[in-house]
Symmetry: C2
Subunit: 120 residues, 2 copies
């Protein structure tokens, strides 16, 4: 297993996680937008600003929490969610670092010389 394989595996391992799957859903991004625009809030307050049912918002927030994008805690009968900005930035930094490592050891950055590949 050479340097490229190792770099690739580390990058894929980080990418293949609940993190990206949580962000790859437009409805969840709208939940994030509300959370950012209005600050920490309970599920009912967030759902009031979105078209989906409260139960749907509740599940989306659970997914975002499992992905370490938001944090939630009980407050009486409410559950307050807030963006976990520090962890979010940290995760993106790790992804960027691993991707840079891959780009460093692999694959031409600009173009593939076709003449090289044509006849092997």
């Amino acid at each position: 297993m050479n340097a490229r394989d190792r770099a690739a595996s580390k990058m894929i391992e980080i990418l293949d996680s609940p993190f990206l799957r949580a962000l790859a859903e437009p409805a969840r991004l709208e939940v994030l937008r509300v959370l950012i625009a209005h600050g920490p809030a309970d599920i009912g307050a967030i759902a009031e600003r979105l078209p989906q049912d409260r139960s749907v918002i509740s599940r989306h927030l659970k997914v975002l929490e499992d992905a370490s994008i938001v944090r939630g805690h009980r407050d009486g009968r409410h559950r307050i969610y807030a963006l976990d900005g520090g962890t979010l930035v940290g995760t993106l930094e790790r992804i960027l670092a691993e991707t840079r490592a891959v780009a460093d050891v692999c694959c031409p950055p600009i173009d593939v010389p076709a003449s090289r590949l044509r006849k092997r």
Copy 2:
């Protein structure tokens, strides 16, 4: 519209794109792994190392290309794909920058003081 709204909209706009959706699929990540580990290759060669049908790999590569993650060009009757490392890193850098901007103007980074939120 305040600073938080603007930062949120810019971040969501970048996140809600084919880029994240392309990376949020395990099968496509495996395609990327092959591409990184073995370098630029045609669709047949990539498909040989993966369990899916060639047509499936072809479609995955199309999705990755539309997301500016890989680049492809015809080479005779082959189509050679390669990781577009530079663009990939650049996209991640933009996402990280927008996310940092959001974290800067929004939302407590560590913890939400429950006592503050309890009684508004």
